[in-house]
């Protein structure tokens, strides 16, 4: 019963959006069909739909490229994030280390990472290695700076409470600093993931044999605009996939920021405690 109401509510909410989208597409289709828009640069929505069906269903050419780009972005992100978090943690643990490393991080930040594309391709070759490297370089800074800022913000009162209960350095770090830093760190990770994808795609534009970036430029320069837009859609899909995966992890790990998740986790803990007490 409740579910049915919920569904009705969603249909009612989505209906105006869908109507608007349909109206825009119809007007667009009509404008091209009647010759109001004559340029070949603006394909009909139906042509884009046809290209999507061809790329994703009948020929399925997109998948190989899709997974290559996805892998490049994710692996690059993993490397960049690991280095960034390791450096941020070391910088927060040792004031000296942080002080003498930070100028180089700043230099790396103000250099547009994209500018390194040709050099990174010369270093790592035309294959996936150079794309992974560029993704890692580009996503490094937002993760580093957010993690470091998170680890450095301290609540004096809480720290004093920890100390007065005799907590060790390690306990203060693991149980106070790290949890306090997680929300900011995840914000940095989300930005980093998007930039890693940009890095992978730009490196593919510059020089590559496979990946959605290659597909995109190939279609564009053969003036196959419908397929080009259909390929663009696959990048949106990768972006959404990466973003929502991160959002999901954020929701699970930093559960205390969301009311509902917090309630669920505390219920689970209460159950665990009760069953533990019963033994």
């Amino acid at each position: 019963m409740h579910n049915d109401q919920n569904r009705m509510f969603w249909i009612l909410r989505a209906a105006p959006h869908l109507l608007l989208l349909a109206a825009i597409l119809a007007a667009w289709e009509g404008a091209v069909a009647t010759g109001l828009i004559t340029t070949i640069m603006i394909p009909r929505p139906s042509a884009i739909g046809g290209a999507i069906v061809e790329l994703y269903v009948t020929k399925g050419t997109i998948y190989e490229h899709f997974f290559i780009t996805l892998t490049e972005a994710v692996v690059g992100f993993g490397i960049g994030a690991a280095v960034a978090i390791a450096l941020a943690v070391s910088s927060s643990l040792s004031e000296n280390f942080g002080r003498y490393v930070s100028p180089y991080a700043v230099v790396l930040n103000v250099t547009p990472g994209i500018a390194l594309t040709p050099i990174i391709i010369a270093w790592f070759g035309y294959g996936m290695g150079s794309k992974i490297a560029l993704a890692a370089v580009i996503c490094f800074f937002p993760i580093f700076v957010n993690t470091l800022t998170g680890l450095r913000q301290t609540d004096e009162d809480r720290e004093e409470l920890f100390r007065s209960f005799g907590a060790s350095q390690r306990q203060v770090f693991m149980q106070l600093r790290v949890p306090a830093a997680l929300p900011l760190m995840f914000a940095g990770l989300k930005i980093g993931l998007t930039t890693a994808l940009i890095g992978a795609v730009v490196a593919e534009f510059a020089q590559a044999t496979a990946g959605v970036g290659v597909l995109m430029s190939r279609f564009s320069f053969s003036l196959n605009m419908a397929s080009s837009l259909a390929t663009l859609l696959s990048m949106t899909l990768i972006g959404l996939l990466l973003f929502y995966t991160m959002e999901f992890l954020d929701d699970r790990i930093v559960f205390w920021r969301r009311e509902a998740r917090m309630a669920a986790v505390s219920r689970a803990r209460a159950r665990a405690w009760k069953s533990g007490a019963a033994h």
Binding site: M216, S220, L229, L232
Partner: protein
């Protein structure tokens, strides 16, 4: 307490010496590694070779100036157009709840798409040359100011808004006196992001078009395995990035003056003087 703060914010001479020593040690070991052949010179040119390249591209050959001029001109044009469009649309969309509701799904989809990926499409559609480059820069510049203006406008203080409305302020007055001043710091943050991405945008456009500009120069030098000159170009971009960063910071301080102590005092004093002059004028009259 204040002395303490001052001491930590001003780097001590001892620290500066260590900073300098580390830097020098890095450069020297790099140079040594390159001279002794431990590092592949083709990939890691010696610092001295990079310095020589700096001299060549800036002074003796001076070929970088033309490319810098082209690229920075495009960045300026694209950034100005894109960010004005972003702030304007952001304000319009933010003020109108219906428009906001209908635009939201598209904004989410666009935000997940790497905008720079549209570059080949725009080049194919608009042709080679400055037009498509400016269009690419506009596109990458548009989003950050748009989103930030939008959120700045939406997150306006409800109580203040209602107070202004109940005192009979018009929509324009609300926008000018309440919404914009509150949103300015957020908008400026968006502009800063936009200017940085404009620099990346022009590079990508030039990598693809390969005709002129600093991106093409880097690409050409790398293709010819003239790594020292490529590094000199990249360090030039580092400098430009640094200047942009500092410049935007200064601008932010000037425009959103109420966010920092010095700015507040400066503008307050100016207003007090103006007020005093006006009072004096009235008294004389």
């Amino acid at each position: 307490m204040t002395d303490n703060v001052k001491a930590t914010s001003q780097p001590k001479t001892g620290q500066m010496v260590i900073h300098f020593t580390i830097f020098l040690a890095l450069i020297l070991s790099w140079e040594l590694g390159a001279q002794m052949g431990w590092l592949d010179k083709l990939f890691f040119p010696a610092p001295s070779a990079i310095l020589t390249s700096f001299w060549r591209i800036y002074v003796s050959q001076g070929n970088i100036w033309f490319h810098l001029y082209i690229s920075l001109g495009l960045v300026f044009a694209g950034f100005t157009a894109g960010s004005i469009l972003g702030v304007g649309l952001g304000a319009v969309v933010g003020m109108n709840a219906t428009v906001r509701r209908f635009l939201q799904p598209y904004v989410i989809v666009l935000e997940a798409t790497p905008r720079i990926a549209v570059a080949p499409l725009l080049i194919a559609a608009l042709g080679f040359g400055a037009t498509s480059k400016i269009a690419i820069i506009m596109l990458v510049c548009f989003f950050a100011p748009f989103i930030n203006t939008l959120s700045g406008v939406i997150n306006v203080d409800r109580d203040r808004f209602e107070l202004m409305r109940s005192l009979g302020a018009s929509k324009i007055q609300v926008l000018r006196k309440l919404v914009l001043p509150e949103a300015v710091p957020v908008i400026m943050a968006g502009e800063r992001l936009a200017l940085t991405s404009a620099l990346s945008g022009v590079l990508v456009a030039e990598f693809i078009q390969r005709d002129q500009g600093i991106g093409t120069l880097i690409l050409t030098y790398t293709r010819n395995l003239n790594m020292a000159s490529a590094f000199a170009c990249i360090f030039t971009l580092t400098l430009i990035g640094f200047l942009i960063f500092k410049g935007m910071e200064r601008l932010d301080h000037r425009i959103a003056y109420w966010k920092n102590e010095a700015g507040l005092r400066r503008v307050g004093a100016k207003r007090a003087r103006a007020w005093a002059a006006e009072q004096g004028g009235l008294a004389r009259a």
